[in-house]
Symmetry: C2
Subunit: 201 residues, 2 copies
């Protein structure tokens, strides 16, 4: 196992490698991204890459973690403990808006890696699993806040609601990516919202 860089410069280099790899993978997929591409983009040498990562898989694992952070950070304050139905709508609309700006390209930075890596490397699959856990956890928290405020039925199964909501988002993103049409996500999250609304008090 390779430890985290000890110096500031080292940490910056490592981060630059991961960020470049994540960008390239998002633009053209894992299969079309070689380590040579990565070192060119990140302006580092091969020695640096293998100084910070054991092998290609190790880098891919770091990319998964990086993308997870990225996705959660991107949803930012909107995906937090919700205080109103309006807040939930705002969060979902933000997701759609992001896809509009991307013209439906790239899909979900986490979700689109599932098809690419889940079957080839079980460790990476675990990292993806963990990413979804965190994401779903935040949704769960958000809904729990709504329940605490008495806006969501006490009988509602928050686990199932969170899973169903995340599934709707992921599915909407898959269709959006395949069709280059953000409306696919729009329709999916509208349905997810209504499904949540059914548990309103």
């Amino acid at each position: 196992m390779i430890e985290t860089p000890k110096t500031v410069k080292g940490r910056e280099t490592r981060e630059r490698i991961v960020a470049s790899a994540a960008d390239l993978i998002r633009e053209r997929g894992v299969a079309e991204t070689s380590l040579d591409d990565v070192i060119d983009t990140a302006r580092v040498s091969k020695g640096q890459l293998y100084h910070y990562f054991a092998d290609r898989e190790d880098l891919l694992r770091a990319v998964v973690a990086h993308n997870c952070e990225h996705v959660l950070a991107n949803q930012g304050p909107e995906l937090g403990p919700f205080d109103s139905w309006r807040a939930i709508r705002a969060w979902l609309d933000k997701l759609v808006d992001l896809q509009l700006r991307r013209h439906g390209r790239g899909g979900c930075p986490v979700g689109s890696l599932v098809g690419q890596l889940a079957e080839s490397d079980d460790e990476v699959r675990g990292a993806l699993d963990a990413s979804f856990d965190r994401w779903e956890g935040e949704i769960h928290e958000g809904l729990a806040a709504m329940q605490a405020r008495g806006k969501l039925s006490r009988r509602a199964d928050l686990d199932e609601l969170a899973t169903a909501t995340l599934a709707a988002i992921q599915g909407g993103l898959v269709l959006t990516q395949a069709r280059r049409d953000p409306r696919q996500l729009q329709v999916a999250v509208d349905a997810a919202y209504e499904h949540l609304r059914r548990c309103a008090t």
Copy 2:
């Protein structure tokens, strides 16, 4: 462009190549599947492969079409014009059952290709788009039959319902594949079913 084989034997050979490629891709992903792997598995020579396909991308396009047929055929009669709510449940349950038998491995033969190919080859992306069109079309037809029988509200927007349903399935499959847990799909399709039920008359 390469035409379809003229002889029975030729068609069998071509089909064996596509089926083998589809199997390998399903098991280990596009990136981990080389043409040499394909010719070994299909027990054909390189010359045969390049006799029937222009290049690797051409083969991948054929795999997408093959998987689309496979997925629709697999859902068989259950995904047909629905005559009752029970029929819709049976269809959705069949999807979950299939994942149970697969232990959540592999995801959707069509959907899992989106992340792998949509960004690297626009023609393949088009083929995926077309696959979803056919799938969604069948769902749409099924719902139209329910509407004709007066079991689904006349005001229901069938386009949106079909899209939302397909998105729920795809999202459920993404989570199932990442987590190796068919319950993820179960929860997603349950939500999709309830969403449809809201438009019952």
